[in-house]
Assembly symmetry: C2
Homo-oligomer: 340 residues x 2
């Protein structure tokens, strides 16, 4: 089942069930007005939504056209967005580029930060910052996978966490690289450096992912393009040190998680074939899921960063295709614009 | 106007308007079912809620008894909880106790962390942790002031931020002190160390605070008791280096804030009369708003911490009285219990 949220005049938009091929959808106000409402009562609501989804595929359910540009993030606002950093390769590269050792514990104890969740960007809307942001803030994208969970009790084990995964989607975790060092130096973690994120036009139940989903990892290339050129196609299932059940269990160590909590994977990142830093697509590698990573590789290999952060007018596109080449989640496609 | 949320079988409870003396209340489902719904449409909803509040005081409005123990946190879950650390005295003490210098910039650049907001504790419910939490996690309370804002645009100036303050309330920001050093050492900020917080039984509009509220600071003692003994009565208006408009402006530097965002002051903390660390109430001082602070003062003065963190069975009470001695927000009163 694929679920989306159409933008309207309300803060939460309205829930729609979307056809597997992303061309048609049905509104379901008689079942659940919003995705959060569905997640709040998933056990009762999901079977009814599934019946609609089946009707869409068989033709028995009235539908209308679904346009990705009309979609908001599946949860336009959420009660929790916690983002891990499960691809430890990415973390190690960041550290190595600045000459710092990464603690060994990073391979066994997940990194996770609390993100802001009060207003996400629609997946096709621009990212808007004031003039000082370019180049001052170092605007970057981060292509990631995220899951939405149901209620998870305090101290849940990994099996419970695995069973709590309701939906899977893509993320653009917009990051302001130049604000990060100062902010992390203060010790309280990210705040200004992590403005609103955007999620893919649809979120899907894990069964839509077939054999690419093993219950904890999504083994398909995450396609990232910058201004129309392929920039990354890293396999989201490879080099993911902590799978989603591990990330969720980390989050529940000291508190329960409420239904609708979004847990992110962190920037998807693959090692190179020789185990070292990955190579750009142009050099035969799988490329990168953020600009910071190519800049780190440039630093390690040539001593200087060549690729700039995003400029006004730059467009990033994030998408994932199934084994047949069809878009699973629709595309995040965002242009950086100057705020009025 | 005083607003509360009664616990019921729903996740968001139901909004009530509470009498100024906290003894009676009226449900208002015909105006707004939940506090978040009221905040989402405050300009239209607030005047209607105010008419109910006036009716409660004049006797024209039907009411029922209001019991603080029936109240949930005013927002049982919220889309954002961002907590500042505006009493820089507190931060300086923490650092000093461990022999670290505090950067000068901390006096001009606010500290703020992104907190979890998916499930707050009701103000009279126990705080429940597994056995390993005592003494392993170092369970502490933090008594704070918080405001709830309306929509605030990206890059708002302090006047706009001041005008966006809708409600004021108290917080117990439960903190797991022994988990903080490891977590902050990883660089991503608090996560496990900041489990669910609790807020006072009612939130009030700023006009309820009279001359104690100057638009940015609340100048009244914040009363903290531990197992029935007075522990703190620090003036929340004194030594607050960054007032709420400054904290809100800090939060909006790179993104808008959505209606219902909660901004916290951080642990209220006063300097001693000589400008040094504050003294315990028993020694004639105003005491403390968290256990960590008395432990820091003990370390600075005697080289060793004497006061332990919370044990199972310990109860913390947080309240604020107006100039006439009447409770403004009702009391947060929570006992630490072992989770089943």
């Amino acid at each position: 089942m694929k679920l989306g949220t159409l933008k309207d005049t309300t803060r939460d938009g309205r829930l729609v069930i979307v056809s597997k091929d992303l061309t048609r959808c049905s509104e379901v106000p008689h079942i659940a007005r919003t995705l959060q409402a569905a997640l709040d009562d998933w056990e009762h609501v999901a079977p009814r939504l599934l019946a609609v989804a089946e009707g869409i595929e068989t033709g028995g359910q009235p539908t209308k056209r679904f346009h990705e540009r009309d979609a908001h993030s599946p949860l336009p606002r959420a009660y929790q967005w916690a983002d891990g950093s499960a691809y430890v390769n990415h973390v190690e590269l960041v550290r190595r580029a600045r000459g710092a050792e990464m603690p060994e514990s990073f391979w066994t104890d997940p990194l996770m930060y609390q993100g802001g969740s009060d207003s996400f960007l629609p997946p096709r809307d621009p990212i808007r910052f004031p003039a000082e942001a370019v180049p001052g803030w170092g605007v970057d994208f981060e292509a990631e996978i995220a899951v939405v969970v149901g209620d998870v009790p305090l101290g849940a084990d990994e099996t419970t966490c695995r069973d709590a995964i309701r939906l899977v989607m893509l993320v653009n975790d917009v990051s302001l690289r130049s604000l990060i060092p100062g902010e992390l130096g203060k010790g309280f973690g990210f705040f200004q450096a992590k403005p609103s994120s955007a999620f893919s036009p649809v979120a899907v139940t894990p069964d839509e992912l077939g054999s690419a989903w093993d219950g904890g990892r999504l083994s398909l290339p995450l396609l990232v393009a910058l201004n129309g050129d392929p920039f990354g196609k890293a396999d989201a299932g490879a080099d993911m040190t902590f799978d989603f059940p591990k990330l969720i269990a980390h989050a529940t160590r000291t508190r329960p998680l409420a239904a609708g909590t979004i847990i992110g994977s962190g920037t998807v990142s693959n090692k190179g074939r020789d185990g070292g830093p990955g190579q750009p697509i142009a050099a035969g590698g799988v490329g990168y899921s953020c600009l910071a990573e190519i800049r780190m590789v440039e630093t390690i290999e040539s001593g200087a960063m060549k690729t700039p952060f995003m400029a006004f007018g730059d467009t990033v596109r994030i998408e994932m295709a199934d084994q047949s080449g069809h878009s699973i989640f629709g595309a995040i496609e965002q242009t950086l614009e100057e705020a009025a």
